[in-house]
């Protein structure tokens, strides 16, 4: 039988999917145990026990200097920045992307500008944002928004412009004005796509958030990781990375759930 035709059953699929993950965990346990045996103060490969201890401390103990639990303060600060940045990007994408997609005049007027902005590497404009908006929250939020919005705008505009022309003609023969057409034909069909491109943009959004926090901040998940890097505190960095990954997965699931719930028609026929 050809390799491409071998399709594992569900149980087998889960099993062979788990193998690499378990292998990695075992490998790490063995390596970290070996290093801990050679040097109990080893920092590079902390044991799971050491990481758990550090994580519990960060998530439960109040920092006497700030009066807050470190990990929660970092998480709140980071999620607020991420939420604001992503929210602004999503809202502007919704307005601009649909306008570009529906109205040829606007596409002619603003399309080249959006394309031009999209090719600028966002991190390269971070200094400009720091100079213009200061080192506070605004510049971090702006970096996230500026970083992901151009891709999302182009994606949504392309999607809306690519909706079958027949739909727009049909809507007009049913008496729809430009506004009604936008509101009732373009907007509802743009929303699931917007969520889809938002899901894809969450990765870059985290990158921009952590970059901005690493450079200038006094609280936040990215700030903490880059702060403790100076002391080689892998026992803090690794749990933080795991925590960020967990937050990212939860965000992704939530967005997917919202999309399936709100737009059943966009997710195949089985609704």
């Amino acid at each position: 039988m050809r390799l491409v035709n071998i399709k594992p059953r569900k149980g087998v699929r889960i099993l062979i999917g788990a193998i690499p993950i378990i292998a990695l965990v075992v490998l790490y346990t063995v390596l970290s145990a070996a290093r801990a045996e050679a040097n109990p103060n080893d920092k590079v490969l902390p044991t799971f026990v050491a990481m758990m201890r550090a994580a519990v401390r960060l998530f439960t103990e109040t920092d006497p200097r700030t009066g807050e639990v470190t990990a929660w303060a970092d998480t709140t600060a980071s999620l607020w920045r991420l939420g604001m940045g992503v929210g602004i990007a999503t809202l502007s994408t919704l307005l601009l992307g649909i306008a570009l997609g529906v109205v040829p005049l606007i596409r002619s007027a603003l399309g080249p500008l959006v394309t031009m902005i999209a090719v600028i590497p966002p991190i390269a404009v971070l200094p400009i944002l720091f100079i213009a908006l200061g080192l506070g929250e605004a510049s971090k939020v702006a970096l996230i928004a500026v970083g992901i919005a151009p891709f999302m705008v182009r994606d949504l505009a392309g999607h809306v412009a690519g909706l079958p022309a027949e739909q727009f003609i049909k809507a007009q023969t049913l008496g729809a004005s430009t506004w009604q057409l936008t509101l009732r034909v373009a907007l509802p069909q743009a929303l699931p796509r917007l969520i889809e491109s938002l899901r894809l943009s969450m990765g870059p959004a985290w990158v921009f958030l952590i970059s901005a926090e690493a450079i200038a901040s006094d609280v936040g998940l990215g700030y903490r990781i880059f702060l403790v890097r100076r002391y080689l505190s892998m026992d803090i960095i690794l749990p933080y990375v795991a925590w960020i990954s967990l937050l990212a997965i939860l965000t992704d699931w939530t967005l997917q759930w919202i999309s399936r719930r709100a737009f059943p028609w966009a997710h195949g026929t089985g609704h």
Binding site: E166, L174, W179, Q180, L183, G268
Partner: protein, 252 residues
């Protein structure tokens, strides 16, 4: 018969130096079922788009009830395309209500609760009943077969009571059996609602079966060195007089 509802007066359509339609002169009377046939690239669809208002003539005039058409679609001309005629994000009922809601609510294009919504709902449900979709009011198009989607598209167009109903190869993508059912439905709707229909089709049998008049578009002249320099026009215009059981053939 009644006066011409649609008039083509010396209509030419050119794209650059490519002539698609040339010197089209004809009138379509109220209540006619006009089938348009002809080889690919003979301007059938262009002819339909002219009536629809999706494009305008390069020269000449297309008139609806004596008024020249602007190159823009409007509710007095309904259309059903081969595909993509219905909105995938709306249930069958909401697809049909769309036209009523646009007229009733300029700002939101949508009716929320109240007696007006109830009336629109009832009218839409009745129209869906007329096309045989009584039991699919809350179904999304993706859950429907091709034939059901075309039934829905018909109901959606007819709710606006268009002066002219345009069909652009409406049954082209359907199975033969389904196509026969659709012929029956369209014929019945045409009689019941007193429609004026212009249908573009590739299927000659369908054209003669449904139409009361068959227009054949083709090029009258042909230059082998510059095939694009001559456009097509209605080379045959056949009125089928069913009652007499004879076809009177006239060449324009």
């Amino acid at each position: 018969m009644a006066a011409d509802i649609l008039t083509f007066r010396d209509v030419w359509v050119e794209y650059g130096d490519k002539v698609v339609l040339e010197a089209v002169n004809l009138g379509i009377r109220q209540g006619e079922f006009v089938s348009v046939v002809g080889p690919s690239g003979a301007g059938k669809s262009t002819f339909l788009r002219l009536i629809l208002g999706q494009e305008g003539p390069t020269r000449g005039q297309v008139m609806l009830d004596g008024t020249p058409l602007t190159p823009e679609c409007s509710p007095d001309r309904g259309v059903v395309f081969q595909r993509y005629s219905v909105f995938p994000h709306l249930t069958a009922l909401r697809n049909v209500m769309f036209g009523l809601e646009c007229a009733a609510s300029p700002l939101l294009g949508r009716l929320f609760a109240g007696s007006r919504k109830g009336a629109a709902r009832d009218a839409a449900a009745q129209m869906l009943g007329a096309v045989g979709l009584t039991h699919n009011l809350e179904t999304y198009p993706a859950q429907m077969s091709g034939g059901m989607q075309q039934r829905l598209a018909l109901a959606q167009a007819l709710i606006k009571r268009p002066r002219v109903l345009l069909l652009d190869e409406p049954f082209g993508a359907l199975d033969p059996g389904i196509r026969l059912d659709m012929h029956e439905l369209v014929g019945q709707l045409w009689r019941d609602h007193g429609l004026t229909v212009v249908m573009v089709t590739h299927d000659i049998n369908e054209a003669f079966k449904l139409g009361t008049r068959v227009l054949t578009f083709d090029k009258r002249r042909h230059d082998p060195h510059a095939p694009h320099r001559y456009g097509a026009t209605a080379v045959y215009d056949v009125t089928l007089d069913r009652k007499a059981g004879a076809a009177a053939e006239t060449t324009t």
